[in-house]
């Protein structure tokens, strides 16, 4: 079976000099959960953002669900609707209620009518554990609640893939679990996911595979336990020595 996501020799260079992604090949099978780890500035976000072309690769190819997104004839909006993305900073729409945040793209992209979009929104809010917040505005919610709304907003589009860019890095410690719980549960449903995170416990619990990135390149990849406890490269080892020190 062909992979759900395929990056072929993807490179992304900023300002002609910063090689954020320096030739990455990555395949993610349908239903697979891949966790990307690596030092700050190593290119994790850029790799993730190349998958839905929020960053257009400088060269290489991005193939999602059998279609090349680098092919100018591919409808990018249509392709993106099949990929949810959750950001470190939530990026909820502050001028809209939680309900409107979740129904906007359903109506404009999926063409659902208001009743149907709201039904789906309430369903997803219940799924992420905050059914009572539909009429709140984002600023009235805690960080953990906002991030769960962001997840519900993506899920309401019924995507085939979910991308997470450090979804818990902006959260206070006591809120990290409530968000990770939602993501772990989602992983168990067979959703194809790529998650950038420093939460090693989460990677152990949910990841099929861990990818270690450094200086824009994939240095090592394998099952979480192997990569964590028996890293093959010195760079991987040095990284885990640092983050697992405490």
């Amino acid at each position: 079976m062909s992979p759900m996501i395929e990056l072929r020799n993807v490179r992304k260079t900023f300002n002609k000099t910063i090689h954020a992604v320096a030739g990455v090949d990555l395949e993610v099978a349908e239903g697979e959960v891949v966790v990307i780890v690596g030092p700050s500035g190593s290119g994790k976000s850029t790799v993730l953002r190349c998958i839905n072309l929020l960053e257009v690769p400088t060269s290489g190819d991005v193939i999602v669900d059998g279609r090349s997104l680098m092919d100018a004839s591919t409808d990018l909006d249509e392709a993106r609707a099949e990929m949810g993305m959750v950001f470190q900073g939530f990026n909820l729409f502050p001028h809209l209620t939680v309900l409107d945040n979740i129904t906007l793209a359903q109506k404009k992209v999926r063409g659902r009518d208001t009743a149907e979009a709201e039904r789906v929104a309430h369903e997803q809010l219940a799924r992420v554990g905050i059914p009572e917040k539909a009429d709140s505005y984002p600023r009235q919610l805690s960080g953990g609640q906002q991030q769960r709304v962001a997840i519900a907003r993506s899920l309401a589009m019924n995507p085939k893939i979910m991308l997470f860019d450090e979804p818990t890095s902006a959260l206070d410690p006591e809120m990290i679990k409530e968000v990770l719980d939602v993501i772990v549960e989602l992983a168990a449903t067979g959703m194809t996911m790529v998650v950038v995170t420093h939460e090693m416990g989460f990677a152990r619990a949910a990841a099929d595979r861990v990818v270690f990135i450094d200086e824009g390149l994939i240095v090592e990849t394998g099952p979480p336990e192997d990569v964590f406890t028996n890293p093959q490269s010195d760079r991987t080892k040095a990284f885990f020595d640092k983050i697992l020190a405490y």
């Binding site: 839905n52 929020l54 909006d77 249509e78 993106r80 609707a81 099949e82 990929m83 949810g84 993305m85 950001f87 900073g89 990026n91 909820l92 729409f93 502050p94 001028h95 209620t97 906007l104 793209a105 404009k108 992209v109 709140s136 505005y137 600023r139 009235q140 907003r153 993506s154 589009m157």
Partner: protein, 281 residues
């Protein structure tokens, strides 16, 4: 509120009912009389005093008769100029942030040129040279009446100033908002309409309101082109009657009243606009 007594009632209790000596509670908030908008009362009184003079004094009767007919033209010129300026500013402001190289550079050049020339000379050259040239080139010489040429000039000038407001407002919205919209599959146009503009509006409306008022005041510049608005009429009347104090005092009264009136209208609009968005930051 459940639980113990609030701070206020505790203070009251000690002061009024207990045998302990009255303790004055330190109060952070200012006494109400300090927070009155006295400035507004002063402005109101000044307008009232001017109004009494203008409307009651018999020496002002002719001044009123000669100047007041210009009020309607001033108001109309203001509204038309602002409306056109808004249209121009949308096109030029969004042109500036567009990815289209031609649109971007033409917009920028337009703004820089307009901002590089004082308003009065620019009104002259637009109304008396450029617009007539354009209408002639279009095969219809002298087809645009003077009043409209003058108003168009004002609109083109404020269009450039207001374009900067639009650009600034849109660019004040964090990049993540556009990214979130695009990641959901919304087109860039749809994200602009449903996500960026509604948020940018809050940054855009107050300075736009300022420029609305500025346009009202700057319609007085149109007097030098012979547009029979308030200032032109005041000058004509004073020149023919030598009643300079009456003419200029009446003119000043009319402008102040119009400007304060428009300010009140605009702040009501702003309040209404903000009321609909309670939950927002």
């Amino acid at each position: 509120m459940a639980g113990g007594p609030s701070l206020q009632s505790a203070g009251k209790y000690r002061g009024e009912d207990s045998l302990l000596p009255y303790t004055k509670i330190r109060n952070e908030s200012e006494p109400p009389w300090k927070n009155q908008p006295y400035w507004a009362y002063i402005v109101g009184l000044v307008i009232l005093a001017m109004g009494i003079k203008v409307f009651v004094d018999v020496d002002y009767e002719l001044a009123r008769k000669n100047i007041f007919p210009g009020i309607w033209l001033t108001i109309r010129a203001t509204i038309i100029a602002f409306g056109l300026a808004l249209l121009i500013s949308l096109i030029v402001g969004l042109g500036q942030i567009s990815k289209n190289v031609v649109a971007k550079n033409l917009s920028r050049a337009y703004i820089e040129i307009v901002r590089g020339i004082p308003v009065l000379p620019l009104i002259f050259v637009l109304a008396l040279v450029i617009i007539p040239d354009i209408s002639e080139a279009a095969g219809a010489p002298n087809s645009v009446p003077t009043d409209l040429r003058a108003i168009l000039a004002l609109a083109m000038i404020y269009g450039a100033y207001m374009a900067e407001i639009i650009r600034g407002g849109v660019q004040s919205i964090p990049r993540g908002q556009m990214e979130a919209g695009r990641a959901l599959g919304l087109s860039s146009r749809a994200t602009m309409r449903s996500v960026i503009f509604p948020q940018a509006a809050r940054a855009i409306i107050p300075p736009m309101a300022n420029d609305f008022i500025a346009i009202l005041k700057d319609t007085s510049l149109l007097s030098i082109l012979g547009v029979l608005e308030i200032t032109r009429r005041a000058r004509q009347y004073s020149a023919s009657s030598f009643k300079f104090p009456e003419a200029f005092f009446t003119m000043t009264f009319v402008y102040l009243t119009l400007v304060i009136g428009l300010s009140i209208l605009l702040s009501m609009f702003e309040r209404r606009f903000n009321r609909d968005r309670v939950g927002e930051r």
